[in-house]
Amino acid sequence: MKALTSLLKGEPTSRLLPHRLHNCCAALTLISVVLGLRFNRHRHRDNAKIKRLSCRGYPETSTSRRSAIPRLPQELVDTIISYFIHDIQTLLTCSMTCYSWYIAAVPHLHHSLTTDDDDPMHRKNGKYRWPRPLRESYKLGLLPLVKRFRIRLRHSIFTPKQLGRSTLRYFSALINLQELGIDYLQVSSFMPNLHQCFGHLAPTLQFLALKRPTGSCRQILYFIGLFPNLQDLKICYQKPVEEQESTADAKLIPLSTPPLQGRLILTCFTREKLMEDMIVLFGGLRFHYMDLFRVKCAQLLLGACAETLEVLRLYSTDPHGEDPLGWRGE
């Protein structure tokens, strides 16, 4: 890698070790091929080009010599392929080229998994089969590669009914999940077996996004406390609604205190009690980034993170600039 960097910087090649030079040239060829792919939409021609280069190595290599590509360090291939994490087509093409490229591309291809109950692809006889992407990935053994899982619901709420025995088996295979997003999570319906359904995510989960979660403050905090390595938290509601806080499980104590030092994103958030309890139970807040829109307890949050907050995102359209709802808390 150092040699490649030197070569790219235009340093004299005499400084490079001879056995590394060969790899550098191959790497540059790889880069040019991949970059060529990126901007070229004629895939058939690209495939042929890759195949030709894969078989023969870089153009100057004699056909009698072994290709340089298999000798390329895997970490170098990983680095090159990682430049295309947002270009699914290129990743697919790379994954079909050779084994080392497949190994480098496949984690990116299966990084994110989303189930959507509005997607006609996931329906059978008009009935939604929510875990279909889970099931298909489970059959292929791909779920350990998934880092980000989003359950997008528009026609139902997320309750233990959605996690039946077989579905829970698929869900439990998500052992390396780092980001989890759930719409309409009814935390109260999972009590007290929350740990059985979500406990396997505890070691790795870092980002939790909840859209319109329901349940008492303590239940939601108990859910958040399941993940001892959680850094980022996002809670969104569609519109600000003043509700009477439920006192269910008022003495529930979270199982752990997540660090929560990353991003806090709140939208249309009126549950001040939830944040107050979070400060008490988690020993304060330590977020470095906040994105606040229509948040009733903005002042409380800004005060709680006074020592740590580095980036704040606000919106001029935030009605708290006009205070039309009288949320100043007098």
Binding site: H86, K234, I265, L314, G321, E322, D323, R328
Partner: protein
């Protein structure tokens, strides 16, 4: 430097109460979206008031996040391959006015609190489109500089292309994005 009267159309007390940053000692960046800046008449005084509450002596970056529609295009990420639709001339003319309004706001904001301006193109997936959008922003800033509209900044505004919103992959794009007043990341 000519002093400009700050528009007091927002409830300054409400802003000061809700977004009081006087206690925040480590704040380095204040972000907002280009869209929200021109979406309401309250924007200038809202941001100026928030900025005026900052007591931290640390240098401050104000990051204005531009999305595709703010730089004259709509990128249809879900189509394969990506489809880019350039805005109608009428919409582009509206964007020009929006840019002008923002530059006026920057001046008012700068008077409330000194900061470095960062114009950020936010997007994922389509690198070439990000580069194009960055070039559009560069040309807009160049024109404004030629008119002397940014003379009060001691440093050049920084133009970057960066993922600022918490979305990392194609699936993260909300279906109903662009709803007036609601940040995309919330949908």
């Amino acid at each position: 430097m000519k002093q400009t009267q700050v528009n007091n159309s927002v409830d300054d007390q409400a802003v000061r109460w809700n977004f009081d940053l006087s206690r925040n000692k480590s704040l380095r960046t204040l972000e907002t979206t280009a869209n929200s800046m021109v979406d309401t008449d309250t924007a200038p005084s809202f941001l100026s008031t928030v900025l005026s509450t900052i007591a931290s002596p640390l240098p401050l970056d104000v990051v204005i996040v531009y999305e595709d529609s703010d730089v004259d295009r709509m990128v249809y990420y879900w189509s394969k391959p990506f489809f880019v639709k350039y805005l109608h001339p009428v919409e582009r003319a509206a964007n020009v006015q929006h840019h002008q309004r923002r530059f006026k706001m920057f001046r008012e904001m700068y008077m409330a609190r000194k900061f470095r301006l960062v114009l950020c193109v936010d997007g994922v997936d389509c690198v070439t489109e990000l580069e194009d959008a960055t070039r559009v922003l560069e040309s807009i800033v160049k024109v404004e500089k030629a008119k002397g509209g940014l003379d009060y900044f001691p440093y050049e505004p920084l133009i970057v292309a960066e993922i600022r919103s918490p979305r990392t992959r194609r699936n993260d794009y909300p279906v109903a994005w662009g709803v007036r007043g609601i940040p995309n990341s919330a949908l």
